[in-house]
């Protein structure tokens, strides 16, 4: 492997990609936003549980896409776990790229910034208390619908090679139990 490959696909980025931090759902969700990059199909959804003091009690992400988009989301969620939404609002795109650490070409910056955009929108996207549960369910069903489109595969088309290549969403608790300790790093 050349040094340039190591530069982009560094161990800590691969670690976030293959063993993401808080991939799943909040047990109680007050804020949620989801978005995709239409050019490449990367998808990120972020759920927050924000308390009355603007502190994030929980933050989880889910999504699919390239290593950069998913690792960046994992790093972002880890960075803001337990922080306040004011801190999120002050966190610029430049801050995000700096946190990611690896120099990215403009096209790949879009991959890294998708989760940042989603989080910035999520803090402004509260779910009204009365609607909280039903909205979570609605978002869930929209989310599931997107998933269905991807699984419509019916019989997989193709001859050579092994079975289905599209990885299912990486294993990780969907019920909010994937609270990995900070000591991974």
């Amino acid at each position: 492997m050349t040094s340039s490959e190591e530069e982009l696909y560094q161990d800590h980025i691969l670690a976030h990609y293959e063993d993401p931090y808080h991939r799943g759902r909040c047990s109680r969700c007050t804020h949620v936003h989801a978005d995709s990059n239409p050019l490449c199909g990367d998808r990120i959804r972020i759920e927050l549980h924000v308390d009355d003091h603007g502190q994030m009690r929980e933050i989880f992400f889910d999504g699919e896409g390239c290593c950069i988009s998913q690792a960046a989301a994992s790093m972002l969620v880890e960075r803001f776990d337990g922080k306040s939404i004011d801190e999120v609002k002050q966190f610029s795109a430049q801050d995000m790229l700096a946190m990611f650490g690896v120099r990215l070409t403009p096209n790949r910056q879009k991959c890294a910034l998708l989760s940042w955009k989603v989080l910035q929108a999520a803090v402004y996207s509260p779910i009204e208390a009365a609607q909280r549960i039903s909205d979570c369910e609605r978002m869930e069903s929209q989310h599931a619908h997107l998933g269905e489109l991807h699984q419509l595969a019916a019989p997989a088309i193709g001859g050579a090679g092994g079975g289905r290549a599209e990885a299912a969403a990486p294993a990780g608790a969907r019920d909010g139990t994937d609270r990995r300790s900070e000591e991974r790093r």
Binding site: M1, T2, S4, E5, L8, Y9, L14, Y17, E18, L39, C40, G41, D42, R43, E64, G65, C66, C67, I68, R108, C111, L149, H150, Q151, L152, A153, A154, P155, A156, I157, G158, G159, A160, G161, G162, G163, R164, A165, E166, A167
Partner: protein, 416 residues
């Protein structure tokens, strides 16, 4: 390698010297350009023809008396005749220059739709179409009240012809389909489809963007009513494409873009359109680009269409063999005997964008994404795929480098 194969590789090595860009390096390695379905590279003959057009013969076409205008006009119309000969079209008046295949389909969709489609009429498309052969028809359906139906695919990525027969009905006014899928590589049985469509009273538009550059094309023996293709996918410049049409059909279709050149007479209360082909060529056309396309057609004719087709089959078969050895890699689409030089694939636990990025670091240029065919990818159960696409100037060595680079890319993620 057999003697014939070795002499083919030697010929390719000579031809590659005509393409300045193929000599460059990427990431410190020789460029292996495997993104030809998106756009091809240009030989010096095309670049020279365009430079000469600008340096020696440039003026606006169609309306000048002076020497340069006449020379530009002659070169421009000579290129139209080259396109006519390429397609074996009955007359050059049936060759309409557009800004590309997309523009040509938009012209056809708007003009055909306005003239012939009524509420409840049906447009038959297929599940393997490029967005350029989907969205213009969706827009036309919205304008006219026509209904779009889609021919489904078989499990190996070919058109389901039984379903096509069932979908084809008295309300079907038009069948619009690609000759070769830009993702699956599938070569569709056009002659069969066209004869069945005609028997049902429907016209057929062929999207030739991925076929005209790669195999001989005879619109008269094929019997298609409309056909489009782009210059930049066949060694020509960007910004030029072609719409071919049956004469009586084109004559009944109304102009699409209005402006200069497309009129016979303009009054304050209306206009009379010009005759074919100018009726559909409003405004100053892409003059140097049309001349460049003519030079590309000359070059391809010298290379030889049968040889090009055979060469790409060889590369595709080699790619299927080499990629078939990679564990966890699934080729999307049919066996090589049913396809052109396009090999798309998915790899377990290696996202297409990461694959393309890592291949680029080996000097191998491929495309990753949905290749402007999102509905097809949904049908395939994929959000994206990686695509290697060949032209005659690619080598067997480049196919091997693709496979080796993919193994290296996989290794980056082989952590647990």
């Amino acid at each position: 390698m057999s003697g014939a194969a070795a002499s083919d590789e030697a010929r390719v090595a000579r031809l590659r010297r005509d393409f300045p860009i193929l000599a460059r390096e990427v990431s410190g390695k020789p460029l292996a350009y495997l993104d030809n379905a998106a756009s091809t590279q240009r030989p010096r003959a095309v670049l020279d023809a365009m430079t000469a057009a600008y340096e020696r013969h440039y003026a606006n076409v169609h309306r000048g008396i002076h020497t340069l205008a006449q020379e530009a006009d002659e070169l421009f119309e000579a290129a139209r005749e080259k396109v006519r000969a390429l397609l074996s079209a009955p007359s050059a008046e049936q060759i309409i220059f557009t800004s590309g295949a997309t523009a040509a389909i938009n012209l056809a969709a708007r003009s055909f739709g306005d003239r012939f489609l009524n509420p409840g009429d049906e447009i038959l498309l297929t599940e393997m179409e490029h967005h350029a052969n989907l969205v213009p028809w969706q827009q036309t359906a919205e304008r006219t009240g026509a209904v779009i139906r889609y021919v489904p695919l078989t499990d190996d990525g070919r058109l389901d012809l039984d379903a096509f027969d069932r979908l084809l009905g008295p309300r079907t006014k038009l069948v619009a389909l690609t000759a070769v899928s830009n993702v699956l590589g599938t070569i569709n049985p056009l002659a069969e489809i066209i004869s069945r469509a005609h028997a049902a009273g429907a016209e057929v538009l062929v999207d030739g963007a991925q076929s005209v550059p790669h195999m001989p094309c005879d619109v008269q023996s094929l019997g298609c009513d409309l056909l489009v293709f782009s210059g930049h996918k066949m060694l020509g410049p960007t910004g030029v494409g072609v719409l071919y049409g049956r004469r009586d059909l084109l004559e009944r279709m109304p102009p699409f873009l209005g402006g200069g050149s497309m009129i016979r007479e303009v009054r304050f209360d209306g206009f009379l359109p010009a005759d074919l082909p100018y009726k559909f060529e409003a405004g100053t056309p892409p003059i140097a680009e049309v001349i460049g396309l003519g030079a590309a057609i000359d070059y391809l004719g010298q290379v030889g269409w049968e040889w090009i087709e055979r060469r790409e089959r060889l590369l595709t078969e080699a790619a299927h063999r080499a990629l078939g050895r990679i564990e966890g890699l699934r080729i999307i689409g049919p066996e090589p005997r049913h396809k052109g030089g396009i090999v798309s694939f998915a790899i377990d636990r290696l996202h297409p964008h990461d694959a393309a990025e890592l291949l680029d670091r080996q000097g191998v240029a491929v495309r990753a994404g949905h290749h402007c065919a999102m509905p097809l990818h949904q049908r395939l159960g994929l959000s994206a795929s990686t695509r290697a696409s060949f032209y005659f100037y690619n080598t067997l060595e480049e196919v091997e480098r693709l496979a080796e680079a993919l193994e290296k890319a996989k290794a980056v993620f082989r952590r647990k």
